[in-house]
Symmetry: C2
Subunit: 305 residues, 2 copies
C-alpha cells in the first residue's frame, strides 16, 4: 500500500569523534523515505528545499523509487540547514547552527495522486504543519505515525496536543516521553501518552533498543550491539521509515506486524549509524537486510523448557 512521508529534506554538517563532513544530504523525510524504500515502492514525499539543493541528491531519492512530485523547490531560497557536534559518548550532541530557510514557512502541498495514501508518516516538524497535512488529505489514512521532539513540547504544546489526538502511533525517545508525560517510569509515560490519543507508543532508547506499547501489550526490541557507532544522525528516522515501510508493504497493522516492523526498523537503524549521514542507506541489498534481521533473531531468541 502507498506511503506518504512529510518532513524535512535538508543539508546537515556533522562532526563526530570519527571526523567531520561538509554539507551532506539530511533531514527526517530523507532518512524515512530512504529506509522505507527497501520495503515499499509506493513511497511518496512532501517536503520543500531551496534552489541550492543539488539535483544529484534528488536523483538519489528517485533512484530508490521515491516519488518526488511533492518535493517543492523554491527558487531564490535556501534549503534548511543544521549542523551539530557529537560528544565522545555519541549519545549527546550540541547543535552548532540552525538555518530554517525554506522550512520557516513550509506549507505542505499534497499532489492529487498522493490523496489516497494509506500510510502516513509525519516526520518531525511543527505540530501545526503535521495537523495541516492530516486535514488536507481527502481520506483518513489507515495508519498515521507521528514523530516529534522536545523542541515542540517547549514551544508549541497546544498544537502538539491537537495533532497527537489524531494519530495512531507516536515515535518518541525516552527523555522526550518523560517530558511529554511528566512520568519517569516509561510504563507510566506510555500510558499517559496513550491517553492523549495514540493507541500505540514507540519509545526509542537508542543503543538500548525500543519499546512498543500497543494497547495493554508491550514488546521490546534490542538494538544490535555494534563495534562502532560512526554517526547516529538520522537513526531514529531510519527506524521509523523501516517500521512504517514494512507495515505499508504488508498492509496490516496488527500487534504482530508492528513487532516485525520494529525489528525491521531497528535493522535499518543499525546500518544508518555505520557511515556519515544517510550514505549507508543508498545501496543496501535485500541479502544484507535479511542477514541483519537474522542477527536480531539470534540476539533475542531463547526457549524456556
Amino acid at each position: 500500500m502507498s506511503l506518504l512521508t512529510v518532513g524535512s529534506v535538508a543539508f546537515d554538517a556533522l562532526e563526530t569523534p570519527f571526523g567531520k563532513t561538509d554539507k551532506i544530504i539530511g533531514g527526517a523525510a530523507t532518512y524515512i523515505t530512504l529506509s522505507a524504500s527497501y520495503f515499499t515502492n509506493k513511497n511518496n514525499l512532501v517536503a520543500v528545499v531551496g534552489d541550492d539543493f543539488p539535483q544529484e541528491m534528488i536523483d538519489i531519492l528517485k533512484n530508490r523509487g521515491v516519488d518526488t512530485a511533492g518535493l517543492e523547490i523554491r527558487q531564490g531560497e535556501k534549503t534548511f540547514f543544521w549542523s551539530g557536534k557529537y560528544h565522545n559518548d555519541m549519545n549527546t550532541r550540541d547543535t552548532v547552527e540552525v538555518h530554517l530557510n525554506v522550512m520557516g514557512d513550509f506549507n505542505p502541498v499534497i499532489p492529487d495522486q498522493y490523496g489516497d495514501c494509506e500510510f502516513l508518516m509525519l516526520g518531525n516538524t511543527a505540530p501545526a504543519i503535521q495537523k495541516q497535512v492530516i486535514e488536507r488529505l481527502p481520506n483518513r489514512p489507515k495508519l498515521i505515525v507521528l514523530d516529534t521532539m522536545n523542541f515542540w513540547m517547549d514551544s508549541a504544546w497546544d498544537d502538539l496536543m491537537e495533532v497527537i489526538k489524531l494519530v495512531d502511533v507516536i515515535t518518541i525517545n525516552d527523555e522526550e516521553a518523560r517530558q511529554l508525560s511528566g512520568q519517569y517510569s516509561l510504563v507510566k509515560a506510555a500510558a499517559a501518552i496513550q491517553a492523549m490519543g495514540p493507541e500505540t507508543v514507540i519509545i526509542k532508547k537508542g543503543e538500548h533498543g525500543a519499546l512498543l506499547f500497543h494497547g495493554t501489550s508491550i514488546f521490546f526490541a534490542p538494538a544490535l550491539p555494534l563495534e562502532e557507532v560512526f554517526d547516529p544522525t538520522g537513526a531514529g528516522d531510519t527506524f521509523a521509515g523501516g517500521f512504517i515501510g514494512y507495515l505499508a508493504s504488508t498492509g496490516n497493522v496488527s500487534f504482530n506486524d508492528m513487532k516485525r516492523g520494529i525489528i525491521y526498523g531497528s535493522a535499518m537503524a543499525s546500518f544508518c549509524v555505520e557511515k556519515f549521514g544517510a550514505e549507508r542507506l543508498f545501496n543496501l541489498t535485500p541479502d544484507e537486510i535479511n542477514e541483519r534481521v537474522a542477527r536480531f533473531v539470534q540476539l533475542s531468541t531463547f526457549e524456556i523448557a
Copy 2:
C-alpha cells in the same frame, strides 16, 4: 548440582525517593543465595557476620534451604554495614556510610562438605579473597562465576587480574565493563574482558537489560518494564543468583542454558526491586516466577515471516 556462594552477608540502611529503612538484611551473598534458592536445594554459603547479626535473619536463609554451616559468626565483632541514598532517577546512589567490621579480615573457611561443589559464585568482595576460595577448593568447580565492581579496579587491579584468569563467567555492569577494558563499545569491551580469561561476559545494564557474550555469540535479555522501581539494591546480585541457580539446577552450561539462566535471573531481579532490600525474595511461589518468565517471553517474542 551443588552451588557454593561466597560473599558478604550484611546490614544495609537504605533511602530511596519512596522511603527509608533502618538496618535490614543485605549483602551480595544474601541476595545471591536467596535468589538461587528458588532453583537449587544444594545451596551452600560461606560468609562472615558479627555477633550482632540476629538469628531470625539466619533463619530466613535456612528456611529457604540455604546451608549456613559456612556462615562464621564472630563473637565480639560487628557485621559489615553499608548505608546508601538513591537519587531521584534511582540509577545513581551515594554511599553514606561503610563499616567493614568483620569483612575487614574475611578469611573464607570452606566446610569439608562443600568441597565437591560444582557451581561456584564469587560474590563481590576483594579479588584476593575470591582467588583464595578457588585455591582452597579440593576440585575445580564445573563453572566459576565472578562478580566484581569498580572499587576493586581502582584499589586492587593486580589481584583482580589474577582471579579473572581463573573464572568462566564474569558479571559486571556497563560502566564497569568500560573501565575494566578501556573500551567504550560494549562489544569491544566484552572481547577485551574475554581476553583476560572468562569465556563468558555478562554485562548488566540495569533497566536496559543484560548482554551475554559467550565465545563469539551474543544474546540480549531485556529488563521487564516496571511501573515502579522501589529499591534497586541487590538487583544485580539477585540476577546473578537466578542465573547460576538455574544452571546448577540443570547441571548444564551450554549457551542455550546460559540464555535461559539470564532470563530467570532477570525475572528474579524484577521481583527484587519491588520492595526494600531482599524482602520480596523471602516468599515467592513457583507460579509467581513462571508468570514473570512468561512475561519475558511475551516481551521478546516475534516471528519474521
